[in-house]
Symmetry: C2
Subunit: 358 residues, 2 copies
DNA sequence: TTGAAAGCGCTAACAG
DNA sequence: CTGTTAGCGCTTTCAA
């Protein structure tokens, strides 16, 4: 470390700077002002290219600022402007490609607008979701972009935000549809399309591993499932609709339940990656073949669908666009607070692979 | 929204509060002071349980603060204390379970200490890594916990931090070993163990899909690989050591290269999830069987190892502990700035599954 | 026991 | 063209 200090002081001397003592982490306007011998406001103006300041002074100040790599203190700016230029994002988990990709989309728009995003995971629990909301609000994010946890049935923690006019956007798993802008996919349509796809490929005993009943996506896809059955002229069998949560364990149990039925289904679709993969493992564990004995379709991402054997037919989301749209809705609120809540519906794609075609 | 406003005003009235106008997002000490009719400093002291303030006043103020759910403005605190209680974390990607889990570990310690973490992804590129460092420093994080991107060979952006005594911790993929505390695993040992494992199971033509040459983990595991070969009495064949980056595409190409050799390897181990899964796909695509024709071992997480077919023998990291240790090293720097940089080495585990046993 | 004032870094209205 | 001042929310001397 001695060497480093030597280098530092050398560097300081070369620039002929008075300040920049050891340990000084950040340069302030005051530092620059003292260095040059003008007032703080002159420095501030110069850096903001205020026309009042003489060109040479401006140049000189900007040069020094660059050399000392001055960056405005966001805390001071935040305090002053009462705006932190930070968005909080809450997702059910960070491992799933789905959310990571959405976050990238949000990030892109945020960056264009000069905003940062603070990411928090609810780990699919209501408790952590509430905590995340509280923590993010404590840090004075300007608003939140959220995908509900699987447990969330009570919305008090969001109602508080709505009451205070704090910008909020829901995506995928949503609530308070009329008060909060949201981005979703055509879940009803997706559920229906899967059902039709099974039917067209000769499957008649179609089962659905739905997620928690409280989730909007579960409900909508169930609607699609029912509509699909109807339009195929198939009867709905209650025992073929099983709810489970988004964990491997629970999904395995639910799959078992289906496979233990006196009359087994010949095809299953599941609501998310964990559910589908768990189903696949359980089916294989029992020595059943996919798709010959049981066909399988899921909602997953490209990468994992083609990783497993057989490759999985699945509904893929336009995840990146999901993020883009969510961020856009967010900034619409920031920039035009009076805009009415809008819901953006994106299209999904059913990508057919081996797991569902005999 | 009309209803919500009504409820808000009702709520306000019930509490008999003068302030809390529409649109007021956050309560300040000033608000509380005005409400009660004391000075700001009295409120501040009361909330900090300063002994000077009379018990009744203290109680009254604390009650009001709770009712109006006052939370101190972290921007103001940060400005004042010159400490944001925020840590920046930079990982190569967010999709891999490995990093998500490490982040959880970091988060746990951070939370205990009352710190927040800001997560950024380098997307395995140097460019985004540098940007992430700059952005995080701009937001005045107190320091960084970093896993290098695969491209990082130049460390200027970190040297700047080191020069300024900004707390820094590297994990897994590290550099500046003597100046910066770090957490790694016994990579040499892991590489050696895999090689021995292959040997013990009858494989003699052992190949290694190494990552980028500049990465510490690549180098160390290569050492282990070489040591392993030696202790088995096998000769090192240069054509069996192939470098590739951490993408599926590149890994597929590298695998092809191995499989195109006049004398193919009978076993391969790869450095990370993407590499291993790409290798698996390519091996299968060519109609080769695993493990009969080619055995496969990788560094992956539990979840994905058991997802694929055949289940994958792999080295798993104690990811959560990784995060815990990294965070601890970080706080050691915050709390005892003079401590010498320390390197923590964690143990890996070789979990044997079907992909490597005939 | 409490209040007034300064200062953390910054901008903007107001003076010169 | 440039400096002075006030204030964003908070803690902490210093005064009373």
């Amino acid at each position: 470390m001695g060497l480093l200090y030597f280098l530092l002081s050398l560097f300081t001397e070369l620039l002929g700077l008075k300040i920049m003592e050891k340990g000084k982490r950040h340069i302030s306007l005051k530092d620059l002002a003292q260095e040059i011998g003008v007032s703080i406001s002159t420095v501030s103006r110069a850096l903001n290219n205020h026309p009042d300041i003489s060109p040479e002074v401006t140049r000189k100040i900007q040069k020094l600022a660059a050399e000392m790599n001055y960056t405005p203190n966001p805390l001071a700016m935040g305090l002053l402007k009462q705006a932190t230029r930070t968005i909080g994002v809450i997702v059910p988990d960070l491992v799933t490609h789905f959310y990571s990709s959405i976050i990238s989309g949000i990030e892109q728009v945020a960056e264009e607008k000069g905003y940062f995003i603070l990411i928090a995971s609810s780990n699919e629990t209501l408790e952590k979701e509430i905590k995340a909301v509280d923590n993010l609000m404590k840090t004075r994010v300007e608003g939140l972009i959220v995908c509900l946890s699987q447990e969330t049935e009570n919305y008090d923690h969001f109602d508080r935000l709505i009451r205070n006019n704090i910008p909020l956007v829901f995506f995928d798993r949503i609530c308070r549809k009329d008060e909060v802008p949201s981005v979703v996919v055509d879940d009803v349509d997706a559920g229906k399309r899967i059902t039709l796809h099974f039917f067209e490929n000769g499957f008649r005993k179609i089962a659905y591993l739905a997620g928690p009943e409280n989730l909007s996506i579960s409900q909508e896809r169930t609607q699609g499932y029912l509509a699909g059955l109807k339009s195929c002229g198939l009867n709905f069998r209650p025992e073929f609709l099983v709810h489970c949560n988004m964990s491997s364990e629970d999904a395995t149990k639910a799959t078992s339940q289906l496979l233990d039925l006196p009359e087994k289904p010949d095809s299953i679709f599941g609501i998310n990656d964990y559910v589908v993969f768990a189903a696949m493992k359980e089916i294989k564990r029992r020595g059943l073949r996919i798709p010959e004995d049981i066909a399988l379709v899921g909602f997953t991402d490209e990468f994992h669908s083609t990783l497993v054997d057989p490759e999985l037919t699945s509904v893929t989301h336009p995840t990146f666009d999901f993020g883009l749209e969510a961020a856009r809705l967010f900034f619409r609120q920031i920039e035009h607070p009076e805009t009415k809540p809008e819901q953006v519906v994106l299209k999904t794609k059913l990508v057919v692979r081996k797991s569902s075609v005999k």
